[in-house]
């Protein structure tokens, strides 16, 4: 099932909700494949302020630094699932 979440995705969802003050969303409502930026089909509609908060959050919790010049960064910010996969891969390097 595409909407089933790994433990890592669940933890990242909790950290996102906390970092971005999205407490009106239950962790379970945050679909791992929904768009983080943009409102289409259940997207969260995050903006640039949120992107900076996400960068601080992944640096703090995963020791991963986001850089715009890295094309993978933009792809990573697509959804909860892509962000989780990216930070875990970067952390292992």
């Amino acid at each position: 099932m595409p909407d089933e979440r790994s433990a890592d995705e669940h933890l990242l969802a909790e950290r996102l909700i906390q970092a971005l003050n999205l407490e009106h969303l239950a962790v379970g409502e945050l679909s791992p494949t929904a768009a983080l930026f943009g409102h289409e089909s259940g997207g969260l509609g995050l903006d640039s302020i949120d992107a900076l908060e996400i960068a601080l959050m992944v640096q703090k919790h995963y020791g991963v630094t986001l850089r715009s010049e890295d094309p993978d960064t933009i792809a990573a910010l697509t959804s909860l699932r892509s962000l989780s996969a990216y930070v875990l891969a970067q952390r292992k390097q």
Binding site: N21, H24, L25, L52, S68
Partner: protein, 383 residues
């Protein structure tokens, strides 16, 4: 570029933006500067200015400098409208603010004198060139001052550090309180910085001190607006009053302050409460209570409240800006709604930047015996 009356310049790259801006000016075209890249903002502007051409970063390969921008004589009509900037209201309907070439040139020269002492500096700018503050720094300080600008629009703290390392000294970082805090929190190492400039929102003295200490730099702040450009400047850590630009003055009446400046075609009524200290300086007593500014966008709290109360099922509610918050928050009485439903409804009418976070559902609002919501009660309710 096609022969149209208006050019919507969406370029993020500073060189591409500058090429498009100057090329439009030389051809007598007016540049339109949308506040955001949101599709509905662009649609609204295209509908209002049907005779327009849209320029984006792909234009860089088609346009070329024949001379350096500073040496090229800018043969434009001072009275011609160089640019129309747009600000977003609470609902995101763009409001136009036209500026002539004469006005922008005068502002550029005054800013260069005040901010850089007319010195040559290499600027790294994090704000979009489409906003007044970004236009003043990434374009006007280059055209009418002696600055050079890094081509990038760095976003993440690591990007800012990389861009600063890519330019030679003397370096200046042009940014906002939000980005400044982000760079400090991330603890990125920056090369020697001669100046940091902050604008768009009040900068906390503590943040300014931290930045000056950590980066061994001088932090200047601009107090201004889309309509005025610069109103005052100061070194935040000095605690001194704001200095008006040379030749500018404030007329303070019971109805508020009126700003007169040589770069403005007409006096401008200001919404904030200013207290003159001398003929050339003032203290900022209070920001207009109804104004809220998020991610460079302005809205009226009264209007945001009206939109909240329009949501079907909302019985009572209030939108406000919490202390130290970078967003709005809302307290809502709506027994049959979940917070996510309220946000979803609001997203239909409200610009996303102003959507409240968090939305706290209560049985009743913390009104005092007079029925008023005090600042303290609001702060306590979201703790």
């Amino acid at each position: 570029m096609p022969d149209r009356a208006h050019v919507i310049n969406l370029c993020a790259g500073r060189l591409a933006f500058m090429l498009g801006f100057v090329a439009a000016g030389l051809r007598g075209q007016t540049t339109l500067l949308p506040h955001s890249l949101a599709a509905r903002q662009l649609e609204a502007i295209r509908a209002a200015y049907p005779d327009c051409h849209v320029l984006d970063d792909s234009c860089k390969s088609d346009l070329q400098w024949q001379d350096s921008p500073r040496n090229a004589s800018l043969d434009v009509d001072e009275q011609a409208t160089a640019a129309i900037l747009f600000t977003s209201g609470s609902t995101g309907v763009p409001q136009p603010h036209p500026c002539t070439w004469g006005s922008l040139a005068a502002l550029g020269r005054l800013d260069a004198q005040r901010l850089t002492g007319s010195r040559q500096m290499n600027l790294v700018v994090t704000v979009p060139s489409q906003h007044m503050y970004g236009l003043q720094t990434s374009v006007l300080l280059q055209l009418f001052g002696d600055c050079s600008v890094h081509d990038g629009k760095p976003f993440f703290p690591a990007d800012v550090a990389a861009a600063l390392r890519a330019v030679p000294a003397p370096r200046a970082l042009i940014t906002t309180p939000h980005h400044l805090r982000s760079c400090l929190d991330a603890g990125v190492a920056l090369p020697p910085l001669d100046m940091v400039l902050s604008a768009t929102a009040p900068l906390a003295a503590e943040l300014a001190e931290k930045a000056e200490l950590l980066w061994q730099t001088t932090l200047l702040e601009i107090y201004g607006s889309t309509e005025a450009g610069t109103i005052g400047t100061r070194r935040t850590t000095s605690g001194e009053p704001w200095q008006l630009l040379p030749g500018a003055r404030l007329d303070c009446t019971a109805d508020g302050a009126v700003y007169h400046a040589s770069h403005l075609p007409a006096p401008l009524a200001l919404t904030d409460v200013l207290d003159p200290v001398s003929s050339g300086s003032f203290r900022l007593v209070g920001r207009a209570a109804d104004q809220v500014k998020i991610a460079g966008k302005r809205a009226s709290l009264a209007e945001l409240n009206r939109l909240l109360l329009q949501v079907p099922g909302v019985i009572d509610g209030v939108v406000f800006v919490p202390e130290n918050g970078s967003r709005t928050a809302a307290l809502v009485v709506a027994p049959h709604l979940a917070a996510a439903q309220i946000v979803g409804e609001l997203a239909q009418s409200m610009d996303p930047a102003f959507l409240p976070r968090p939305v706290v559902l209560l049985e009743r609002l913390p009104r005092n015996e007079l029925g008023k919501l005090t600042h303290t009660a609001l702060q306590e309710a979201i703790r």
